[in-house]
Symmetry: none
Amino acid sequence: MESDAPNSLNPRKKPGQRRSAATVAAIIEAAARILEASGLEGYNTNAIAERAGVSVGSLYQYFPTKDAVTRALVEREAILLMEEIADIAALRSGRTSLERFIKAAVAHQLRRPVLARLLDIEEARLPPDPEVEVQSDRVTEIFSQCLRGADLPATALAPEAASDLLAIIRAIVDTAGRHGETDRGALVRRVNCAVFGYLEWQAPRA
Amino acid sequence: MESDAPNSLNPRKKPGQRRSAATVAAIIEAAARILEASGLEGYNTNAIAERAGVSVGSLYQYFPTKDAVTRALVEREAILLMEEIADIAALRSGRTSLERFIKAAVAHQLRRPVLARLLDIEEARLPPDPEVEVQSDRVTEIFSQCLRGADLPATALAPEAASDLLAIIRAIVDTAGRHGETDRGALVRRVNCAVFGYLEWQAPRA
Amino acid sequence: MESDAPNSLNPRKKPGQRRSAATVAAIIEAAARILEASGLEGYNTNAIAERAGVSVGSLYQYFPTKDAVTRALVEREAILLMEEIADIAALRSGRTSLERFIKAAVAHQLRRPVLARLLDIEEARLPPDPEVEVQSDRVTEIFSQCLRGADLPATALAPEAASDLLAIIRAIVDTAGRHGETDRGALVRRVNCAVFGYLEWQAPRA
Amino acid sequence: MESDAPNSLNPRKKPGQRRSAATVAAIIEAAARILEASGLEGYNTNAIAERAGVSVGSLYQYFPTKDAVTRALVEREAILLMEEIADIAALRSGRTSLERFIKAAVAHQLRRPVLARLLDIEEARLPPDPEVEVQSDRVTEIFSQCLRGADLPATALAPEAASDLLAIIRAIVDTAGRHGETDRGALVRRVNCAVFGYLEWQAPRA
DNA sequence: CATGAATGAGTGTTCATTCAT
DNA sequence: TATGAATGAACACTCATTCAT
């Protein structure tokens, strides 16, 4: 019942109660705000707790580690993205699905661009965590389903295609976000270029 | 005449002497090695100095700040890339230039993939620095010249194209590096897909 | 009439009800178990409460302080020893009484050797507490009665003899316990040596 | 050359320089003073550093851990005792050697009784450390040599005799120290009783 | 110029204790 | 009375940076 492993990455208590869930959510959102307002420099547990309106002790009641807070935030964002993406699987056309996916991904990442960028950095720094990977695996799975559309070239099924394309999407939007771009439409158009261009070029041209 | 502000980000002294230049280089390379061997966790000035075979004091004689060391390393890598790229400008064909550029960029980033990845992270974290930007601007400039090739669609001149494409190149190679890929040929092929696909798709298709 | 000072070391309430008494006992035994299982490192009020099957709040309903729990445990152990010793007073022979005392003391301390050792440490660390001292005074009193046996040298009545001998008994058994010894007979024999040797040697030898 | 184990118990740098050695000694003595003045409650690294007239950072330059400071102090005391005991080995008579040993041990422990007592507690709490054990093993060795004296009963060689007797010595003096006794002579006499009594009684009496 | 011992603000984390429910 | 979430002071430890030698 009791895990003595100090490196356990799970919340110390499952947020079953109403109050707890609210506190957990408050802490996670506070972490997001701190990240946006003060960057990685100001991102420390005391600041997070204060912003969340709770004590450090409470923070540690729900998260065993500072990194666990970060992971929860990463996970939350991944889930948010998932929700905007979940129904794509039902679509017939690979082309249309991809367009929907891209639109959602761009919208998601452009909503809080600073946060998205810093979380990408943190996610890269953090040791891989199963809880988080479950989410990104689901995103990858959805994306792969899009690529399996009959109207797309068979080469889209190449094993690295999905990871390449997801990296491309992220990179373009991150870069745009860093440059302060906010025009969603223009960005979607460019990401479409990158994705469909990659797929077309990849296919043996006649 | 010279800014003495303690928050200046420039090296405290221009390495005029032979000895100094060697020391500076040693420190920068030591920083690279630490980053590769111990990651961002083990990346601290004492470790860097020790690895470089100098005292921390000496390190601070040449660099006003830890971040300045990192910036110098980023700059060094940019210059290394520059050297492999500098002669591309002379080429006639945009297509061929791009291919050369991609080959060089992939080779560069795949030579020390861990270092490249961590430096990308650090570069994103660091406040923008003129000295560093000079280099990346030069790289961007060369890349833009490639895009101006007469055999490429006019749309390649769109202002965001260059930054999009550079981001794409970096993203694909970083991702591949993180997954442990080492096949340069395959990677070059995929990056070509992404770049030429982007350009072609971007152009109004008949 | 009663001291309400928050630093009072007495239980907040006398456990009058059946329920209370059971809870108090559960908490004390839980403390013992934690101490045995996790040492002083893991010995904290939350762990104790959890092990006792009550909330921390309840723990603090019955004990004003963590140290109060420890003292209660020390006291309980002292009382346990007392019970095995109480009837010794009736014996005629000082020699026999001492042997009985030693046997009981060794048996007591060897029953839960880890607990005994850690409690010795805690007892040494704790500020002297009347409630606890009452018990150890009773033990000392019984022991002193043994020493007053007519068949023992008069020097046994020297004021420090009792405290010296009790310390000796404790020390030998603690040490043995730490070394993992479990042979009660052998230990009793050695403690007898120490005690009777001390007494004999203390007496002016002819 | 570099130990990455965080649980390494060795000083981070060998105190080779004059300055370092002085600092190390100052820190150790400060630890002793804090222990005497404020007990285990006030015994924390900041207090130790302040008392030593150095910064916490310096403390951690020489000791990897708070516990390492404690161990160094324990070791220092053990060495002090050793110095007062080292020449005993040369003596002929077991009886005389033992008397000398006891005199030294009592003097040692009575010089700073509070410190001695708290260090006994800490030593018991600390995980066994080779550096420290080397010293206590040497003390035990000397003591065992005393017991091998030809004028002592052969039973003194019983394996547990040494550890029993050392425990007895410590216990009596600790107890006396806690009671505020300062009469060295009286204490030596009583410890002699205990030790020689144990040995005599242990031997089969005619 | 080089050294590396010294600094001390800052950070993550724990845990005895309280108090609203 | 019981609960357990909340508190926050306290602590161990790190590391960028300085400065006397």
